[in-house]
């Protein structure tokens, strides 16, 4: 399963990066969110052991590792905030340059 997970994380990363490199701003935001997914998947799979039951104190079976889960929990929400913020900035860029094409945004220089 490790191999499959690793390859999947790699694929997601590649897709995210590819999307971020698109000229269409909406696509680059989608790329950013796919990257967030990839990272969360990575975090999940770093759990020290594979559990059979949810991480409750009442569980009798082998519990899943609670620590990465707590990390992901916050990461998921934070990445939503970050994405929304990026969207707002893209909106400003598009209204300022009258374009949704990243290549036409050239105000970084000068």
């Amino acid at each position: 399963m490790e191999l499959v997970t690793a390859v999947a994380v790699g694929f997601l990363f590649a897709i995210g990066v590819f999307q971020m490199l698109r000229r269409n701003v909406i696509r680059s935001v989608i790329g950013l969110m796919i990257l967030a997914n990839a990272v969360n998947l990575f975090l999940l799979s770093t759990g020290a052991y594979d559990g059979l039951a949810a991480a409750y104190t009442t569980a009798t079976d082998m519990r899943s590792d609670a620590l990465p889960q707590a990390l992901i929990l916050t990461a998921v929400v934070i990445s939503l905030g970050g994405t929304a913020f990026v969207l707002a900035m893209l909106y400003i860029i598009s209204s300022r340059y009258q374009t949704a094409d990243m290549d036409e945004v050239n105000g970084l220089k000068n």
Partner: protein, 962 residues
Amino acid sequence: MTDPTLLWPILLILAAASIAAVAGLPALNRRLSITQLSWILALAPLSAAVLLVLRVPQANDGTVFTWQWTWLPALNLNLGLYVDSLSLLFGLLVTIIGTLVVVYAGQYFKGDQSAWRFLTYLLLFMASMLGIVMAGDVLTLFIFWEGTSILSFLLVAYKYQYEEARNGAFRALFITGGGGIALLAGLLFVSYAAGSTEFATILSSGDVLRSHDFYLVMLGLVAFGAFTKSAQWPAHIWLPGAMSAPTPASAYLHSATMVKAGIYLMARMNPALGFTDAWFWLLTIFGGITMLAGAYLGLKQHDLKGLLAYSTISQLGVLMMLIGQDVPEAYKALVIGVIAHAFYKSALFLVAGIVDHETGTRDLRRLGGLRKVMPYTFAAGTLAALSMAGLPPMFGFLAKETLLVTVTNMPPVVAGVIRWSTVLAGSLMLAQAGLFIWETFMGQTKDPDVHGHEAPWPMWLAPMIPAGLSLVLSILPGPKEEASFLAAAAQAAYGTKVKVSTVLFHGLTVEFLLSLVAISLGFGLFVFRHRVRAWQTAVLPDMSFNKLYVWVLAAIDWASEWATRLQQGRLRPYLLIMLSATAVLVFAFSWRTFSVVSLGSWPGLNLDDELDLLRLFALLVVVGASLMSVILVRDFNAILAFGAAGLSMGLLFALEPAPDVALVQIVVDILSVVILVLALTRLPRRQRRKAQEVAVILRYSRWSILRDTAVAGAVGLLVTLITLTALTDRPRESVVTPYFAANAKTLTGATDIVGAIVVDFRALDTLLEITVFGMAGLGIYTLLRHAAQKHGDNRAVEDGEGTAVSDRQATYGISGMRTSAFVRVPAFVSLPLSLMLAATHMMYGHNQPGDGFTAGVVISLAVALWYVVFGYEETRRRLPWLRATSFVAAGVLLAVITGSVAALITGNFLGNVDFTAGWAFMPNGFHISTSFLFEVSICLAVLGGAARMLNSLGHPEGRDRD
């Protein structure tokens, strides 16, 4: 010996600098004239000088005063002072001449009430300069060193209205600042090799340093710093440019003190780096060229200050040369030369300042005959000029003669070259001294418009004192204290005992004869000065080495232009470069550490295991849906594909099993899709279509697609390898989780370990996180409000594509579309339902899946549905209680209050307290505890932040009631 009062001189001067700055306040500035101010301020360097003099007797006996302040003990970095006779010698020059210059400046700027700025800079410079010569380790030295460069810049550019001043200041800073960087590198090498940044250690580890592999690098870098600071050829060009500073600054910085910093540094480092052939040749060659170039160029100047600047350069070359010689006499000459030059040159500068101040010109071609109207100035100038000329009985004579003595122990050719260059330079200097006095004070005025009158007494007294000192110190028949002080200073620089005598006449020696030759030659040059100067101008009209500086600047400009060509100002190329660089670098440096486990030992995929099969399915969906988001042409479809991928992520989490995460992932995913779609409607379709590349993949942008695929593939491969390494090498036993699992119930009362970690064990993290989330929402609001005001809304420029809607139309739902009752009724129902759901999540979050995050996002989803169904205006009207900003504030505030109350009760911020323990009426399993209240605040903050995002992205130009 350790001496905490060592800091006093510097502190005194810093205090004076602050007084000068305070005197700039209008209220004070009106009452206190600059002259009065300068009298008060002069007390500081005066008392500093006294403090230093008091240490002289002990220092003569070889005592070294030290003081240290531990700065960064972990890095073994200290700030320290180290004061021996050499430091005292320079320190006394800095403070004594400093006192005179402050008084003089008060007269020079009389009536100019804005000159407090000048005095502030001057005193700050004085403190830095004192810091250099008293520094006890290389870091302290470097900090003060840079301080003098910066203050020199400020002083040269004091009259910043003039372009000349700005250029001169920039050039000085460029050259000395560049030298400073080299010096820092050199000093770091030295302290690395010596094993300490402290001078005490460095000075005693000379043998280690000299035999070190990097000795030449250290020497080169340190010398580069010292040469630029002390205006050695060819870096000397900044000094004439710095003459656009007000004359008091020129007298102080650019003749007496700052330019001596390089001399001091080399003298200080001599025991550590000196006594090698490289040292000798480096200092002798550069010093010699500087000596000759300065003396030669000085003679052709018409500007009084320009003449003095070049003769200063020449003298600095002499001093640098002396440090290079491995004979005790050289160091004797060095200490005498430093004092002599500081005294006579500052006096001459001050005289030039008086002439300029009283007549309005510094041009030798216009001045003349001033001796009658300015007798005292004339007297001071003549004394100093005699000293500069190297005539007996002045101090300068001693210096010159000692210089001639030093070359006795050398190979004849080298000795001859040095000796005769010295004679030549000496004669040129004599001619310049004569020129200075004669053309200014003697004869008749050359320009009838130039009238002068005597300056007020404090003004002429200021040059008179150093000029007189240079006479007194040499005429007095060798006072014992003076000689032993100079000997001690020379010894500190040289390392072994140096005998210093200040007796003028040693009998009829070769040196004396050479002195006579120099003097006669100088007189000859002086008598034929007009012809010599005309010849100089004719033969080498432009020999100022300024071209070099211009070329260096041009080369730097060219290089930076070339480098910035990469900087296209577009985001995608940056991203491409950064990502490929990261991939290449990580591959290059860590491919060995990737765990390349043999295929056999990989835990294989067990397809009989249903759980694994399900996971495989979920992973496939995640990857496949993400891939679809690339391939699908329409943005809307791509967003939906992304949403599918997110839902499948939720499935993966559920399979872990991680129910809390799965829940949050699913609701957040839906909310993300809603926000993305909202944002999509904000970007005009025409713009997006223009940017649409995927549609034309096969047609024209094939190369860029290939390139992006390659980069993305490389990054993906890298991440795969990293993940694989992380997964195969991870510890099979968690260090922290067992603690959380064991203590969740007892410490927090929660059976949900993940929930316990989020709201209890790591509660502070969560508090910060909800703050960040809320801030993101508020940030979006601010950004979009700003944009809406500044650039107008996108929709205003949209031309008839159907997405443009007015606010009135917006009441009919998103994009002005009428919604049917079948949609509206579920929307009405969903909001209260979501509130109930949220409430149960918060109440039972610590025993069941779900928590405050889920609660907040669920309510936000219901609100989002309202936006879609009823439109912005209608939703705002129907839900007046939805005040996003207040919710964020309330959430964070509630969390802080709860945490503080808990802190009062348990002693831990956000520690677990059950406020309703033992109450009979509570529903089963529900307690109002800190956990619950914290869940509520999380919910509030998330709801507020999310609502803010929905509002702003859905309706950026909207006026808001918050």
